[in-house]
Symmetry: C2
Subunit: 144 residues, 2 copies
DNA sequence: CGACTTTAGACAGAGAATCTGACCATCGTC
DNA sequence: GACGATGGTCAGATTCTCTGTCTAAAGTCG
């Protein structure tokens, strides 16, 4: 198969490569109880906490699913649920110190992989890629 | 959150948008019994048939999972399993006429979405994106 | 204020997707 | 022809995800 795949699939390949690398590195660093699905939600928790509904929306899963994954992250000590001062119904999912450590480890690998990509592509192309993707996000991400 | 996400996540967003659009269009066109997981495998079946093991490898799932999904695609009439003339152990997964019809419908939407992207980005940027992704594939896709 | 609608989240149960482990048949090699 | 590697299946367990239903707290409008 020497046919060039669609842009869609071409986008997916490096994304998956990144995801795989990050998850492997996390496991290596002792965070070996995080699953891919959990990481996809975890990744979206902001520094000041994020509501479950927002997490669900951004990860494009139902709030039940998001809740299920947050339960696990909570049991593993990566996040905790707290009240939302601005809304009595809502609860904020916040990152614990263990969660921060994991995030830091993840960020390190992300930087490493991005550096590899930049080395392969050249910094001009890498910069253009980043910029193009940001523009593309405008029409492909409803939560931009 | 106005922070620019990582390139990894930026790659994912348009990919998912494409995937969602294609699946919705397929459902619209009467192919409403295909799930996302099935489509991800289906997408990789070549015109001359593909072995289960190859499908599994490319989709990065176990051969059991690939087999499970192919079972469903077969039951729904999108593919059929046949012998592999070159290897008695192997069986080739081939696309049926119904499968081809679905593929054609999918290709149509892909072209449509890519046209939207090109309109938004401009043809120069779109071309550069495609080229950059092909290069990036060299170091991120073990099956390139 | 008080009734109505919406929103945030949880609980329960079912279904889909994925994995590990064990197994058989065929291929390639020596 | 024996032996390790490869392609595929079967069985069972786990993980992920969804639909449906429910409660509590906002928000809206008379």
């Amino acid at each position: 198969m020497t046919t060039t795949p669609t842009v869609g699939l071409l986008l997916f390949l490096p994304y998956r490569a990144m995801e795989t690398r990050v998850l492997a590195a996390l496991a290596e660093a002792g965070f070996d109880d995080v699953t891919l699905a959990q990481a996809r939600v975890f990744q979206r928790i902001g520094p000041n906490g994020t509501r479950l509904t927002d997490l669900a929306e951004q990860a494009q899963v139902t709030k039940q699913t998001a809740g299920f994954l947050v339960d696990q992250l909570e049991r593993a000590g990566y996040v905790r649920r707290g009240p939302d001062p601005e809304d009595g119904r809502a609860r904020l999912v916040r990152i614990t110190s263990r969660g921060s450590a994991a995030q830091a480890a993840a960020a390190e690998v992300v930087a490493e992989v991005e550096a590899e990509w930049e080395k392969h592509l050249g910094s001009r192309r890498m910069g253009a890629l980043r910029e193009t993707l940001v523009r593309l996000r405008e029409i492909t991400d409803p939560y931009a």
